[in-house]
């Protein structure tokens, strides 16, 4: 059992307590009595198997689907009960890069990107400023104004990044954020993640890449490997696999 969060006075953003889950489909992530804690401004990378599907786990963290046992807390509140307005309000504080389908096909990509902000009452100025900042940071001229079906996967993936980063999230979940993209984008993503962390936003990065373990962004990065339903700390961070 691991509590990977560093000792810190920062508020806990996401917490898993004694979580167990057996996926109902092939290649889903399996968990056996795991604990996890991510605080504001912290990066946690979870290395998963290359064929693993992270989507249902990420959705479970957002209260969409329940684990077999254990508890999930976001900003010290669970996802239980029928106060759905609270659940939706909590979810609006989570930015996410999805693995798999990530777009409403009947909206243009730019409409998709700003949808959550517009729905949650973001003003035009706030949306424009936030978009402008991240587009500049990533070197994009403008958002694509076409249906997702007609846009290249790499372009869609970059727009997913922007969608996850804009607004004022408390947590950003990145599911294989570099898929469809060339390695050139790795450095830009790291730079973006560093900015996010410096804004006291927690980041959970789910990926099969092995080079994430060496990341030391803002000195508050944790890395674990998901193996057999348990989290283990990689060799090069603690000098051996620990459970």
């Amino acid at each position: 059992m691991i509590m990977p969060s560093l000792e810190s006075a920062d508020p806990v953003v996401l917490e898993l307590r004694d979580l167990s889950h057996q996926p109902t489909f092939e290649n889903g992530l399996q968990f056996r009595n795991v604990d996890l804690e991510i605080r504001s401004g912290e990066l946690l990378t979870i290395q998963v198997d290359g064929a693993a599907r992270t989507r249902s786990f990420a959705s479970m963290l957002q209260g969409i689907g329940l684990p077999d046992s254990g508890e999930i807390f976001f900003m010290n509140q669970d996802w239980l009960g029928s106060d759905y307005q609270r659940h939706f309000s909590q979810r609006s504080l989570i930015g996410r890069v999805f693995d798999g389908q990530a777009w409403l096909e009947n909206l243009n990509v730019d409409e998709n990107v700003t949808l959550a902000m517009r729905h949650h009452g973001g003003t035009r100025e706030e949306i424009r400023a936030s978009l402008h900042y991240w587009m500049n940071h990533l070197g994009l001229d403008k958002l694509v104004s076409r249906r997702p079906a007609f846009v290249a996967p790499a372009t869609l993936q970059l727009h997913q990044w922007i969608r996850a980063f804009i607004g004022k999230p408390k947590l950003v979940i990145l599911e294989r954020p570099l898929q469809f993209l060339s390695e050139d984008w790795f450095a830009k993503l790291l730079s973006a993640v560093e900015v996010i962390l410096n804004n006291d936003i927690a980041v959970l990065w789910l990926d099969s890449r092995t080079d994430l373990q060496s990341l030391t962004l803002n000195g508050r990065s944790n890395h674990v490997i998901l193996n057999g339903g348990k989290f283990t700390i990689p060799l090069d961070t603690l000098g051996g696999h620990h459970e």
Partner: protein, 290 residues
């Protein structure tokens, strides 16, 4: 157990009809229908609550509503007018036959036309147009979104699919049925008059004809027209949305669910029309009930 001899296979066992099994099947069917009606009513009550909550009407929800109104209401105008015009001609041809057969006077045509159109045909026709053009499309769209994971995407961004997808679609379908019923009623009256003049059944001027129609207007007509369009439209919309969202995780289910939604919505519209007729007029066809 009864046994019968068949030509090809020799002995064949026929299932024995057991009364308890028959009752069980009937009970199961009744419970299933009750659950379906309760689901529809729950969805409609949730829609009402959300529709009257100002916070629900965010900019994207208003956008969904306006697109749906455009597709269902505005784009359906021509179809409703066209069908209404055709039905108006049919009605007047029938009236002409009755004039010849039983010696009806031409003065009786206007009230007959008015009652048939306002109380029965126009609301039904509008529902048919809306279900055919939009109901099945809504069902298909929601089912595809569910199978494709698009609802999950919406949910994960803190956007309630009920508020952003279902509620605006139901509200716009209800509004569209009401407006299209008015349009098809107008088209029926116009073509009814034109057809009547052409075949010699109506010999008065258009203004006199309108005057006769206005004279026939009864409070009951509005009491019938408004709830019939609104209730039937709401049920049709709720059924299409519910069926669309009920699809399992297979894209091959989508066409089956969509066609089922269309048929169920049509069935509901006819049943609701009959129930409202009984409730408001106290009669089924010509038979007095209360």
């Amino acid at each position: 157990m009864r046994v019968s001899r068949t030509r090809s296979r020799g002995l064949r066992v026929l299932p024995q009809v057991r009364p308890d099994r028959v009752l069980e099947a009937i009970g199961h069917s009744v419970v299933k229908r009750c659950v379906a009606v309760i689901s529809i009513l729950s969805l409609l009550s949730a829609t009402c609550v959300l529709a009257f909550t100002p916070k629900s009407w965010s900019e994207p929800v208003r956008s969904v509503m306006s697109r749906q109104l455009l597709f269902t209401g505005v784009d359906g105008t021509w179809a409703a007018a066209r069908f209404g015009a055709a039905v108006g001609v049919l009605l007047i041809v029938q009236a002409a036959l009755w004039v010849d057969a039983i010696g009806m006077t031409t003065e009786m045509i206007a009230p007959m036309l008015w009652r048939a159109i306002v109380r029965e045909v126009a609301p039904l026709l509008a529902c048919l147009v809306v279900i055919g053009r939009s109901g099945v499309a809504i069902s298909t769209e929601l089912a595809t979104m569910r199978v494709d994971g698009q609802l999950e995407v919406l949910d994960a961004q803190g956007i309630d699919p009920m508020t952003s997808l279902v509620m605006p679609r139901i509200v716009s379908m209800v509004f569209s049925v009401f407006c299209l019923a008015l349009i098809s009623a107008t088209a029926m009256i116009l073509t009814g008059y034109a057809g009547g003049r052409a075949v010699g059944v109506i010999r008065v001027s258009f203004l006199s004809f309108l005057d006769q129609l206005v004279g026939e207007i009864h409070t009951l007509d509005f009491l019938f027209f408004v709830p019939k369009t609104i209730v039937a439209g709401a049920f049709a919309a709720a059924i299409c949305c519910l069926d669309g969202l009920s699809v399992k995780a297979a894209i091959t289910d989508v066409p089956r669910v969509s066609s089922r939604a269309g048929i169920r919505a049509l069935g509901a519209v006819f049943i609701i029309s009959a129930i409202l007729s009984i409730l408001i007029y106290g009669r089924i066809l010509i038979f007095e009930v209360v």
